[in-house]
Symmetry: D2
């Protein structure tokens, strides 16, 4: 960032727009600072358009050839950071077209035939979002693999399962992590569905109504990897549901990340101590070496709120906009980019933290032993071995737990006679289900906490993700 | 609504919770006023669960049979409005189970074996949302058909195409309406994708960790029309991304509806006069009979904001919630129901308005003739017939339009000599593209405004939607 | 709720609007189910209006007298639950006016002179929101007093102060609670500012443009407790910033409540064990008696998200609405009422929980002793007693803490020689600041953690709130 | 923006964080790109802090003097763009402190005594927001003056008053503009209230618990223009309600701007033609010279949605955050800055447009004559001159308007005999109220449309704003 810009910002009210209308309109119209990120997409779309124009006889093949070479040179120059953009040319589209004409002359002036900035930007933006969705899918796969690797180490590591942040039933750390593998699988599904849905091509819709040139929209659509051209030119330039859907996918993914981030904040608190993050993902304090602030996890929580705000904004921008194009839509790219950046950072940080974290099985087990997390096991034993209706077994168990609490004992340490004082038919067999490990192992229903189930799910996902 | 409730609300701060903690906790815990809408789903899930318990030998077939009859009787009683619910039993699940036990005795107390309210409510809620998505798909189909019918009447009805609410190029009313057929098709796609994604069954996850009973989760899943059981019990009871996604689909659909609603408000304003809504969908004024307030359209705009608010809220509820269940999640149903109600009303109102509206082709054509909506046609003619590069043709056209403006004439009324004074090579042939109808007809690219294109798209959709 | 309504809702898509346009328009136009909560305000405003009309000679005193008696009778009837409203009369205003005319005949038909529903509803709604703000202020005062009472018991109760949920420095429980007294004081300030701002009267603005009757708007304004009449009739009927501001105040208050609620969830988790909520504010489990789910606290978190959603929606409704009245604004009351209800419940629950909770000072102290929460005290001692620059003292302390960690000892248990091995000038005096209580007591800057400071702030607030 | 950054962004997923953990943590921790905008505030707060430290005897006066000179030099260097910041030093606070120590040596290392980054950033940020609120107040005053100037030109310019975008009653353009003067006056009130509320000083709260140094917090507070020091150190570092409130004020102001922007979009559409924006605030089309796209107005609409999104995000960040500081709060500045930037641009653009616009009184009057906008005048005449109850007069008027409609005549053109055929007592006097100008002039109630009222309000505001 240059200092010029920084200074202007400090004098926001008095200074930035002191230049009068032209400074204001430039701030409104010039989107180059934001949309330069579309340069690859813009060049790709122009290449496809020029090739089609030539094939349809709308421009000469010599012109098309000059355009192709010119655009490829420009791409190389941008890659090599040898081209600078200017706000005087408003946006990435005009910057590239002007540079092309500067380089190749008249053929460059023929490129914009049978298209308009309205369909051009819609095309570029769809290409960008398509890439972003592909990138998200790949990043989510990485994260799933990281979770799976940790789950593999801890399929049998007992920890307390919480509801209401109260200790409820023992589970395993592997089981817990797999829950997130499932969530992120659905996020990947949403990303793929969104990709498929947006993958139709607006190019050729021109300003809003199509064109009288004999263009071949299917050719450009296919050249750019789109399934087909969009069927309605007004829709092609006005639709932004693909951008809304993208931010929606991002918001849900970020919300899932924030749930896991919240758990990392809890688990790394000294009062839990379940997990230790690596130095790489904590910020320490030179004065309190025990302090390992889970900054990355906290920021992930904040970014989820941020992306939800972007979604609110994006839907608000589109709400009640008549067809076709309106300037309000210029805000779409800033919102998408900012959601994408926030999500990319969150994904990278979470994947890093999950890969590096070290679980503390002793702390987990000690916590699981607090409370009467095996009370449900006792109730289930009463139903299964004595044929007592569940609602009644539930009641008997309550009485026994109260007794244990009075004695200050765990259920498994209560003498059989005490158990029988509440329900005479209870036998020694009940101790087969009360210890923590047996409790966990007993929940062997499909998808349950039993290590056998957890390992089966790990196997399922290992194959699925390979 | 009873007066008792109404009065309490008026004395909100002093009164409603004057009953102390119990009144407060009842307001927090009792969800029956909201979740009674799940009764059909709750009974269906209990029927499937009981059948499976019997088949797995967990309860007797006699018990299962009693449960089945009892639940069916309860369903009939509810349908016949002969059963009333009570907040003392908190929610729909406990109300139905208590009623069952009241009717059939001990077998009723066995129903809750190997499940918990956590998996029960997740199952019921998914079933409800699945229905809501199916309903939305059907409602969107109706609306598409209504739009298609109107488009069929107006494939060739010329109207101004707007950008920035300025007149840009002539299009046809049919073309404009088809843009919404496309948008709603994508909304349907989102609804179907969401349905497919949520269609896996949480039942059997129990409280959070699965169960030690030998249940068959695949059986209950299939009995309820789910694709398969969910693979992770923690995920099964904690996941609410299906609710977020549903409200997201609703918000996008509502946003599309609000765009069309905005257009109806504009089109029915006397300053446009493009469209007349039927008496059924306007509120009049006995004092100003010409006043036909498009109340339904305005409310649709407001509902879009409302549903976006529900989405914000739903994402906010889930953000940073650790696993597994937390009471925060109780808010999910209120948010989903309120979004669904708002959307159902909006869909019904829009479908009604579209079905009944009468277009005013004269007003549309007169508006299209304002301005120089055919300027692009002139520029394109220069490119196509004189081989002038587009950017230059664009410039020549600007000069000619300025000339016409000075003369107070339309482009098509400007003498050829005037045109030639700017660009000598212009011939009489230019008048083949300047008149409104010719201008529209010329934009014959795929998806363009030409009536031939519009009719082709109508044919496409007519087959697709039949 | 009647079953009729419930059943209809279950058949949402197919059923509710099967009645066709009239059912839809009734659902759009009839606001009586929502706005009946304005009945007191509506009658108050009509009484003021009628008195003014008579005084201005617009209606006779006899008519005014009949209207007054009629409206008072209606109020009594509503209080006594002897009047039922009908959706056929759309809203509370028409229901009351129709009932008045039914009772007193022709004078009733004169009441609506020189006013319109547009200014009537704006007036009623402002009165309602004004009451809601007053109620919020009173409820916040109650909560502040509850916090203050607990703080009084625990001005010296040492607990860990957290940053990043890591243990940072010891503080006291009283100090922590006082932070919320401050937050809620600012919320009260916002409520009072909003009240003052909205307290101007729209009555007399009529439909949008004022009226030709010689009304006295100042008289009605003052009769209703408003500061003055609004100065612009278009603004009077179109403005809803008071509703937005109200929900904004509610959202911020709810956000503060959610922060405290989060702490209650943490503090009541067995892994913290800092606080025990009373039975009245927890939901238990008959099977796990140790389980005391902080349902009320969790719901308060969710309600914060809910109210933020209402705020998003309300701003979205108003966004880009041209003047003057539009039907979109009908959504305002539902949004305000729902925010108010959510907040009222949250306030009552929080005030109840705070009043009843029991702190566990031993658990708090034990947690504070974890880690090296007094490291800052050592650094400050180095600066204050040895004149070492802070940044250097910071570094020395880090070295000492690392040494202590290696030894597995607390700082205060490290022999002086060990301290001196790092910094030779350290003396025995350092032990004056290292123990927990001394550490806390030493932070005696204004507003700091020292019990003396905490007690001073308690005294300040006790006087301020009495 | 450098190309390096741009390229990285294009390879977002694969590239940006390929540097591994350190690249990720740097992106999380380094806030310098955002918070450098706080440099003036940071230096001001450090100057006040150093002066106090010396006066309290915590550092020497010589050190304080060196610090003062050093900081002033740094400020001059930044102004002169001779200092560059580095992400290695994370934030603006560390960048400035490190530069100070580089310049003046050991005294620089004493500056951070008795403070922490937590209270430092809270202080800087409050100072920044305070300035932003002052700037907003001044900008709103400018806009009010612009509106007032236009209103002064058009106190008597008749235009249609709309409800539901249907023509309702005639008003004047001046009257319409004054409605916004009122709205912006309330926005200014909100800005001032927010300023007053945030104007207390966190400095001296240190990390979270205060400090053992004998600091004088009142001195630093007053030196920085704060009313007083904050009374609770935990609150001082954790509170962000001031940031939420600021964005809330911004969102409401932006919502008001968006309402006016919507009207500008409508009024400049050729179908209204009420207003012409200057070239400076429209983007034209070289091809369609009549096309004057109201880009600035459209962007203002979009920015309102944007700021609402920032508010949603900010409340979401703070929701359910336990005390005291958490990294989530780092997101606050980005959200505030982005709302402030969006609002500053919107304010400047609106003030510019209002200043330059040219009304078209003929088009306004022609539109007002459409429909039966004077029907209410007839009804009121019936009440006032014939003593007919309003509800009955309303009904009679409806009958007459229907008759006029059948005849295709305006009310004022209907023969007296026709009027009398509906209500025999009607006299010629009715024509005193029916013509447009008389209708407008008749609504002479306080705040009404009568030019006399409009002029009175202009006089009120002219004095008030001078």
């Amino acid at each position: 960032m240059t200092w010029g810009r920084q200074m202007a910002e400090n004098q926001m009210w008095g200074g930035r727009f002191a230049g009068g209308p032209s400074a204001i309109m430039s701030a409104i119209n010039a989107s180059i600072e934001v949309d330069q990120r579309l340069w690859r997409q813009d060049i790709a779309a122009s290449l496809a358009h020029a090739a089609m124009l030539a094939e349809a006889g709308i421009i000469s093949t010599a012109d098309a050839s000059a355009i192709k070479t010119g655009l490829q040179d420009i791409a190389a120059a941008i890659e090599a950071q040898q081209l600078s953009f200017t706000a005087d040319l408003e946006d990435i589209h005009m910057n590239i077209e002007a540079e092309l004409t500067r380089r190749i002359g008249e053929p460059g002036r023929r490129l914009h035939t049978a298209r308009s900035r309205n369909d051009q930007v819609a095309t570029d933006f769809r290409l960008w979002v398509r890439d972003a969705l592909d990138g998200l899918d790949a990043a989510l796969l990485d994260l799933q693999r990281g979770l799976l690797a940790q789950a593999g180490l801890h399929a049998g590591t007992v920890m307390p399962g919480f509801t209401h942040l109260q200790i409820a039933q023992p589970i395993t750390f592997g089981h817990h992590l797999l829950a997130y593998v499932e969530m992120f699988a659905r996020d990947r599904g949403r990303a793929r569905d969104a990709r498929e849905r947006l993958n139709e091509c607006p190019l050729g819709a021109a300003a809003l109504a199509g064109t009288s040139y004999p263009i071949d929209r299917t050719q450009t659509a296919h050249a750019l990897g789109f399934r087909e051209p969009m069927r309605n030119s007004l829709d092609a330039v006005s639709a932004r549901d693909f951008a809304c859907e993208y931010i929606g996918v991002a918001a849900l993914t970020a919300t899932h990340l924030s749930r896991l981030a919240e758990e990392l904040v809890l688990w790394t608190s000294p009062l839990f101590g379940f997990v230790r993050l690596s130095d790489a993902y904590t910020s320490g304090s030179s004065i309190m070496p025990q302090k390992r602030n889970p900054d990355a996890a906290e920021l992930i929580r904040a970014k989820a709120a941020r992306i939800t705000g972007s979604l609110t904004a994006m839907l608000g921008v589109v709400k009640a906009l008549p067809l076709a194009y309106a300037k309000d839509l210029q805000e779409d790219k800033a919102l998408v980019f900012e959601a994408a950046d926030a999500l990319a950072l969150s994904m990278a940080a979470m994947t890093g933290m999950i890969g590096d974290l070290e679980a503390n099985p002793e702390a987990m087990r000690a916590a699981a032993a607090k409370g009467y997390a095996n009370a449900t096991d006792l109730a289930d034993w009463l139903v299964q071995h004595l044929g007592i209706p569940f609602r009644e077994a539930h009641h008997i168990t309550g009485t026994i737990v109260k007794l244990a609490e009075t004695r200050g004992q765990a259920l498994e340490d209560l003498p059989l006679t005490d158990l029988q004082s509440v329900e005479p038919r209870i036998t020694q067999g009940v101790h087969d289900v009360l210890p923590l490990d047996k409790s966990v192992a007993s929940r062997n229903s499909f998808g349950g906490s039993a290590p056998a189930q957890v390992r089966a799910q790990i196997a399922y996902w290992t194959e699925k993700l390979s």
